[in-house]
């Protein structure tokens, strides 16, 4: 199975190399972590989708079906690829924290965010890929992300509307939410670990779904 | 060992192989005890199906012309001369029959056939 994962890295060599260089430059050129993080997320997502592209459009997946490889191995290798990339992202953050000497705790939020976001994104993309193939998965992903952007804009707008209309009740909800969020210790190790756990559970469920989809499909 | 087979020949392939080997035995080109090529080797040499060769060898075996020893291969059997002679004669009779039949089918008269036959006899003997 590791051969499959290694193959995915090899086939995307150029892409990964350029991306990492870019990332390194971005991280150390700017003080601000945020834009670099978003860039890292985009690359991480891109590596997995590109490996799916290679299997689908480059006809690799048909080749794989002729070799003595279990269908489950093929599916799991994509998730392992995803996990490795998530791990690499965390490593980069740890490295960054060591170099900047800011103390690990302040990065817990970023780590949680990265792990959770990537897991969620892979967990949604991969089953779609395994059921419908690369083309449809790409279409789906475009629509999905547009939907999220619209949703987050819409949510903000909605919240404003609620706030401006029903000041009394809206206020109460808003305060409760803020209190709740402030109650959560931002720098707690436990929180980060819980977030990661939830993320992996989501991935695990996604794996099961992908396995079922791939097994039911015809090559 | 060269075996003549032809696609144009109306006889089944296995029969052609059978006849070819048989004639070699009768003519003495293959002597008792000589080894025949393995079935698969011959199939490869002639580029034809293994089953075809198997059938030919089976016929040869049934006619007691060859013996197959499991694990060792097929060999020309010890056939006695009188048997060879009688086989020879029946083969010649068959060939004559074929020629005469063809003559008849193509409208050659019996007189013409006799004429040609005598002419050939004169030349050969």
């Amino acid at each position: 199975m590791m051969h499959l994962v290694m193959k995915d890295f090899y086939v995307n060599k150029k892409y990964i190399l350029i991306a990492v260089l870019y990332l390194g430059f971005a991280l150390f050129a700017t003080e601000n972590l945020a834009p670099s993080l978003i860039f890292a997320l985009a690359i991480s997502y891109g590596i997995v989708t590109r490996s799916c592209f290679n299997d689908d459009k480059d006809r690799g997946s048909i080749f794989l079906r002729t070799l003595p490889i279990k269908a489950s191995t093929i599916v799991i290798s994509k998730y392992v690829l995803g996990l490795i990339i998530i791990f690499m992202n965390v490593l980069i953050l740890l490295l960054f924290s060591l170099i900047k000497g800011n103390g690990l705790e302040s990065y817990y939020g970023s780590i949680s965010m990265v792990v959770f976001t990537l897991s969620l994104v892979y967990a949604i993309y991969l089953p779609v890929f395994f059921k419908y193939g690369y083309m449809k998965a790409t279409t789906f992903q475009t629509i999905f992300f547009m939907g999220i952007m619209l949703f987050s804009f819409g949510f903000g707008a909605l919240a404003d509307i609620i706030q401006s209309i029903s000041i009394g009740q809206g206020q109460w909800i808003k305060e409760a939410l803020v209190n709740f969020i402030e109650m959560i210790p931002k720098n707690s190790t436990t929180l980060m670990l819980i977030t990661c756990l939830v993320a992996f559970i989501i991935l695990a469920i996604s794996t099961v779904i992908s396995l079922k989809f791939y097994n039911d499909s015809s090559a | 060992m060269f075996i003549s087979i032809s696609n144009i020949d109306p006889r089944p392939l296995y029969e052609q192989i059978y006849e070819s080997i048989k004639s070699k035995i009768l003519k003495g080109e293959l002597k008792p005890g000589d080894a025949l090529p393995s079935i698969r080797q011959l199939a490869q040499d002639l580029k034809i199906s293994v089953i075809t060769i198997k059938r030919a060898y089976l016929e040869l075996e049934q006619e007691k012309l060859i013996i197959t020893r499991p694990g060792k291969g097929s060999f020309v059997a010890d056939c006695d001369i009188s048997q060879i002679a009688s086989l020879n004669l029946s083969e010649i009779e068959q060939q004559m029959r074929e020629v005469v039949s063809k003559a008849r089918k193509t409208g050659v008269s019996r007189k013409n056939v006799e004429h040609i036959f005598n002419k050939v006899l004169e030349e050969e003997y």
Binding site: V11, G60, F63, T66 | A43, K47, V50
Partner: protein
């Protein structure tokens, strides 16, 4: 108990317009079976089902006596498969593809592979998408042979290839079968190839098996019969896939010895059939039904 390399029992698969129904095929160890049918008759579908590249609806497939799904890995290790249009990671070189693929096989013979590459004149530093069709097929065949398979399954290996390459391939298959523990199953619509080296022939038409028999039996016992159109009705009952023109008729006859005993054949022209003839006339008969 026959030692069957490949056994397909009542295989069924439906796809939109096309249906494979009740396919039954048996291939004993040590022989070559040709799988003949028109384009779209179901050859590739059947083969893909054997390899579990698509899922069957019902029926059983056993390779080396084992169920083809349960023992998929074991079977794929011992089966050399060449698909109709061989696929690889197209943008990578031959060498890369092979280095990748060989890791998955239990037995891989590097020396044999190198030898085959030389024999086939393949440059392993070339990218797959730079190879011609014939080269791709030869590459796939080299890979298929190098993991010491017991069964070769080839889907239209010779289509689109020149006669020289086709002849090379037949030579390789005959070499392969010298070891009588191996078998070959190959589909083709170039029937002359199967006529040369096939031991068994299976005909498929419209998703159904119309004949599966020893090749010799077919070519020896069946005949093509031609005659004056005015005499046609005398024989009509036993004529298969009847073709008529203004002046003559042509048909296939099964079990010619029986036919000869039953009818006066003196004014008929009798010919040995080719496998093409058999396919043509048999499928005509099916259409009449």
């Amino acid at each position: 108990m026959k030692d069957n390399m490949l056994e397909i029992i009542n295989l069924c698969k439906s796809y939109g317009n096309f249906e494979l129904s009740d396919v039954n095929i048996s291939l004993p160890r040590g022989y070559i079976m040709g799988f003949i049918g028109a384009n779209g008759a179901g050859k590739t579908t059947t083969i893909k089902l054997i390899m579990n590249m698509i899922k069957k609806d019902s029926g059983e497939i056993r390779v080396f006596g084992k169920d083809h799904v349960k023992y998929e890995l074991y079977i794929k290790n011992k089966v050399g498969y060449v698909s109709e249009q061989p696929v690889f990671y197209e943008n990578q070189t031959v060498a890369w593809n092979v280095n990748f693929a060989k890791k998955f096989y239990d037995e891989w013979d590097d020396a044999l592979f190198e030898d085959l590459l030389t024999r086939f004149n393949i440059d392993s530093s070339k990218k797959i998408n730079q190879l011609s069709k014939g080269m791709k097929m030869k590459t796939a065949l080299a890979i298929a042979l190098s993991h010491h398979p017991e069964l070769l399954i080839l889907d239209e290996p010779t289509s689109g290839l020149d006669p020289i390459v086709r002849d090379e391939l037949l030579g390789i298959l005959m070499e392969f079968i010298q070891d009588e523990s191996r078998s070959v199953f190959f589909s083709s619509h170039i029937t002359s190839d199967i006529e040369k080296i096939g031991d068994y022939v299976t005909f498929i038409d419209n998703g159904r098996i119309i004949l599966s028999e020893e090749k010799d039996k077919i070519l020896d016992e069946w005949k093509i019969v031609k005659g004056d159109i005015n005499l046609m009705n005398n024989y009509k009952k036993d004529l298969i896939g009847l073709e008529q023109t203004r002046t003559h008729f042509k048909a296939l006859v099964k079990d010619f010895d029986a036919f000869k005993a039953k009818y006066d054949i003196s004014s008929l022209v009798i010919d040995k059939p080719t496998l093409d003839d058999v396919l043509l006339h048999l499928t005509k008969k099916e259409n009449l039904r």
